[in-house]
Subunit: 344 residues, 2 copies
């Protein structure tokens, strides 16, 4: 692994704001701790899971007792990471250990720890490592690196500084790679930096199987997901001069396909990717009889405004809301409002 | 740009085989030439197109008269690269220039220059730069780097060595990035190296729009392509304990969707990506009444054997063949044979 001296300066030079600490202080706290618990956020994504598992396995090599405490079971995409690691548990089924240190990863707010907030706060010392600019520095030690594309980059830096001669084994490297590749959309989002590629390049030399990792996290579909796509895709349609693409998933579709709600994640991309589409929308009937609406914009239209109008939120190019009512009714309302905005 | 001294040694140390030259010799030949034509292979892919356009624009900055001579119009995926460049032409509509040097890129055999073979050979001097191990060194100067994931990496090295203080402008960097990202499947194939990521990282700092580039080359679908998918996907099916996934595209589907054959490229991936699928097959009715069969394997089954049986060829995990007959008949024959092999 690279030594800290070869790392870019952003992470180690003195521009830390109030309530932020240097990586060195976190390393000191970790070195002094015997038992450590790591907290990924609720609905852990690839960055939270990969960062947590990498950190745990590194700490075990350093002679620590280290555990990852999840809020719930992880998405099927990341199951392949759980074959080689142990000591991961789902709250409240956790080992009866007196922890010296709790580390929260990839969470901008303590609320993102869900039901584990009190547990997190209960340790003698708490650490918060994250890369979101909204992070509100809720722990005793807060290390927020906005220049990092993923919390996985921060963990890579932490490991490099903690033990400069340590070389990640294939499992730790795989976890760090998962963290980085998922949070950058496979190095495709604009948050990808030279440093992101540098770290990924180093990890590719740690005996990892990048074809398989990427297949698992990006490509692999459970069969019910494909069955759901087979039902939903033929109903996709385009309106307003093909500038709006719409995809709809009804409860009946989920039931027929034997699919769960998570299986329709990303379906909006099928219409978003069509040439000329400025706004892509998915309408999904939820189990409790509402309609979950997701918007994606190519950049021409600010979709957060429409989401906000219907009580939701988000960013200019990715937003969402939930509407009471049936699929057709929700669609009619949203499309009518959106076209009104687009014609202005 | 990095200087040659910082480059890995593989490309510049002395292990060149018979008929291979050092990069320095190619640089000398290019420096001595006034008018240069660059030849990407037939059915140019992202690597051939990106490498050729990057090299051309670099050479123009170096004061050369440089042209790219294509065999045919490029795929829609790469059209966005043709807004900023000129002097690209499609044979035989080429400028009447006395070329001093012809450079073939990404072509393992002169046959891959299609109808331009005689033109290529007609220059006083010819160069062949490639990364395929099957390259048969058909030019006066041959530079084959098997350690390069893409010819784009070779062009990057060429540019770095030719002019160590040159920093790629956004267009040249975009072209090199396209070459590298497409030939590594977005840094996902096993040919991706530390060096691949290093170069990509440097290119991200050359003012390129990686979100847009990746959207163009990987995600964007012309509407007829989505319409074709809407027709083909519902007919996808799974057999032999869901170990075989099949997708079929009939002439009627192409016609209804207003789609071309290239629009069904990659459809086999929809069934290949389904969990548990060991062999994915697409059957496509061609305009001349045959059936084009593509096989993908997860690694358990050697599909080249089946492709070979039907007069085709390929690799263990990706192979293909063309069968005379109708869609149903071709499918019946292939599936019957394949299941026989899988049961052995």
């Amino acid at each position: 692994m690279q030594s800290i001296n070869k790392m870019p300066c952003r992470q180690r030079q003195g521009f830390f704001k109030k309530n932020e600490c240097r990586m060195k202080e976190i390393i000191k706290a970790v070195k002094e701790a015997g038992a450590i618990a790591i907290f990924p956020h609720v609905m852990a994504d690839g960055d939270a899971i990969g960062s947590a598992l990498a950190l745990r396995n590194f700490l075990v090599v350093q002679g620590k007792q280290a555990y990852v405490i999840f809020e719930e079971e992880c998405s099927y995409k990341y199951r392949f990471l759980f074959q080689e690691t142990t000591q991961c548990c789902i709250y409240p089924n956790i080992p009866d250990v007196q922890y010296d240190l709790h580390i929260s990863l990839d969470s901008g707010d303590m609320k993102m720890l869900g039901s584990r907030i009190d547990l997190f706060k209960s340790a003698p010392s708490t650490v918060n490592m994250d890369h979101h600019k909204t992070n509100n520095k809720y722990a005793d030690l807060n290390y927020i690196s906005l220049s990092s594309a993923a919390t996985g980059e921060i963990i890579y830096d932490f490991i490099s500084l903690y033990d400069p001669i340590y070389k990640p084994d294939a499992f730790v490297a795989t976890c760090l790679y998962v963290a980085i590749t998922t949070d950058t959309g496979g190095f495709r989002y604009s948050n990808t930096t030279k440093r992101t590629h540098e770290i990924a390049g180093i990890l590719t030399e740690c005996d990892i199987d990048i074809e398989n990792i990427n297949k698992q996290v990006f490509d692999l579909m459970p069969k019910p997901q494909l069955e759901l796509l087979k039902l939903a895709l033929p109903k996709a349609s385009f309106l307003h001069d093909d500038k709006i693409g719409v995809i709809r998933i009804s409860r009946e579709d989920y039931d027929k396909a034997g699919a769960k709600e998570e299986h329709s994640d990303g379906f909006v991309d099928y219409v978003r990717n069509v040439e000329g589409v400025e706004v892509a929308i998915s309408f999904k009937e939820t189990a409790d009889g509402k309609v979950k609406v997701s918007f994606r914009s190519s950049g021409v239209v600010d979709v957060s405004e429409t989401a906000h109008h219907f009580g939701g939120g988000g960013h200019e190019n990715a937003a969402g809301c939930t509407i009471n009512g049936d699929l057709k009714d929700a669609e009619r309302q949203v499309i009518e409002y959106l076209i009104g905005r687009m014609e202005k």
